[in-house]
Symmetry: C2
Subunit: 349 residues, 2 copies
């Protein structure tokens, strides 16, 4: 990890982005090289990256490939910004499929008039998150649209990783009796964004959980090689992640409300606003299923990592006549946890 994040080559003098910075000429080159390339890859970034990696040549290894656009509002919030989320989100997408993330691309759609200083902060955050995850941002693109045609900045990252030979995580593999674990407290990202929007009547000291989860995942796989599947609980929250797994595996899932790790502040925000924390977005939380006999090893492995300090066993897969996600509540009852219907919070990531 670099101790100091590179901060550009100083060639771009403009304070704000103009349409000329998207025109394909000199101004665009200055923007790209000064603000992005020199931060991501000081030795130079090609329009097209050409990459070798010994793991690619291993018989049976597969390539993982994923993409996400990020439109989070506000662009900067406690615990992160659109750049950090764009790197962590794509790293985590690869991670939950069992891939070891290697390379990212980053494409920026920039509104005319956007402050160059903002772009520099976003690029620096991306580099720091990439360093933390141990990935490289190897190619990119910028487009500039006229004032009013976009809301300041959208970032799209794609990621390429390698799935080692023989590793096969899939929701379809979950069996009755498998244990469900999460790596940490739930809902921090959603609550932090809500608070950061400033249209709340309260102030809450909640930071987004935005962070890369690949090192945690590797630790779990080493300790509990039978891990069935993992899912990051982003848009739609834990509830959506569990429903997707339940549907794919055609098996029921029971979780215990009492075991869900959650901050009092986040519970408070949800009560105040009538939100269900199970649907709050996370950017550094995953749920995974392991065979019962490996559950304690998986839990210990998670807790040995920074991103898994608050890990917990939250429930298990169970035969059900009609497979659903069911939550046993604090008060002894139980309720069905359905897929999110309608929108809860727009532009959460």
């Amino acid at each position: 990890m670099n101790a100091v994040t590179p901060t550009g080559n100083g060639r771009l003098r403009a304070e704000r982005v103009t349409l000329a910075h998207g025109g394909g000429g000199k101004a665009m080159r200055d923007l790209i090289e000064d603000v992005f390339t020199s931060v991501f890859e000081p030795d130079g970034l090609e329009d097209q990256a050409r990459l070798s990696h010994e793991m690619l040549a291993v018989e049976g290894a597969r390539l993982a490939f994923t993409t996400d656009s990020f439109v989070v509002q506000p662009l900067e919030f406690p615990g992160g910004d659109i750049g950090k989320i764009a790197v962590c989100g794509t790293v985590n997408d690869l991670t939950v499929g069992g891939a070891q993330p290697l390379w990212l691309s980053a494409a920026f759609i920039i509104e005319e008039g956007t402050e160059v200083a903002l772009l520099r902060r976003v690029a620096a955050a991306m580099r720091r998150a990439a360093d933390q995850a141990g990935v490289r941002i190897v190619t990119g693109d910028t487009k500039v649209v006229e004032r009013g045609a976009a809301d300041t900045l959208f970032v799209t990252t794609s990621g390429v990783g390698v799935i080692p030979a023989g590793r096969e995580l899939a929701a379809e593999k979950v069996r009755a009796g498998d244990v469900a674990l999460v790596n940490g407290v739930l809902g921090d990202h959603g609550a932090a964004i809500l608070a950061a929007r400033g249209d709340m009547v309260f102030e809450a000291d909640i930071r987004s959980d935005c962070r890369p989860l690949n090192h945690l995942m590797e630790a779990v796989i080493e300790a509990a090689p039978g891990v069935r599947c993992a899912r990051d609980a982003t848009r739609g929250g834990l509830a959506s992640a569990l429903n997707e797994i339940s549907q794919a595996s055609a098996i029921g899932i029971e979780i215990d409300e009492a075991r869900l790790p959650m901050r009092a502040e986040v519970k408070g925000v949800c009560e105040l606003l009538g939100l269900d924390p199970l649907y709050l977005a996370n950017e550094g939380a995953l749920v995974l299923f392991v065979p019962e006999e490996q559950a304690e090893a998986a839990l210990a492995a998670m807790r040995s990592t920074e991103a898994g300090r608050d890990a917990a066993i939250i429930g298990r897969a169970a035969e059900m006549r009609s497979p659903r996600v069911v939550m046993h509540s604090l008060f002894g009852g139980s309720r069905i946890v359905d897929m999110l219907v309608g929108e809860q919070l727009p532009r959460i990531c």
Copy 2:
């Protein structure tokens, strides 16, 4: 190539996109599966693609990885739409680096209120272009932003391809005496977009040249294995592509105006509007440099393909004290062709 492009599973009933379609729940799943997944990969598209390809395991083969956001306005124009351009642009980015394109990702940022029918047309165009190029769209993402936060639709594609062992195209390899070729008429895309914007005082029957160039490139490499480098002449046009090559190789480039293939209609539009056709964007044009003794073979190979019917030799690399791009004009003079300064046309791709 599929004769019939799949048109969705019919599950999405809405006529316009709402914020709920971006919320991570059922509505989002219906949008993604009906409009995109079932068209791109009827057998199902995972959030993360897991891919095997025998070429990846070949010693010395490298992975190529590239990305581009597309913000073209209008979204549909004669000869293409934002979807076709998003597929062809990324395929061609991989192509000019010597890669054989294999897989694409597609990320959509959609403004609330966008017509679902438009999205279906765009998805169908993407599938057709992917079929034409012989690539698969294997993963994707959708985000919905509120009305006014984006201009209807932005598309970001990323591409992964394989560079066969031993293939090394690079602008740095261009030597004095190498011959420059283009595959077809120049400026059609830029002129078509200008005309399609409807704010011109003329009507012109010009279609974008938007098309995949990978099959053409493979034909050239087979016929002229010594090809030094290729560059697609997109934003900034032929002038920018040649300047990039000249700078990277520190060698001068001379081109002959009389040899540049260009439609009379495009010349007319440029004269009328005071535009320099050398800077007009293309979406299906590339320039490449080959050793002199392979120039005729390369030309014949290009002309044997659909996308190279109008191929021409346009100039050559030459020693110059201060390496520049110089054009010998129709009238016997010559002028320096510089990098584009400022913007010519915003949102051309």
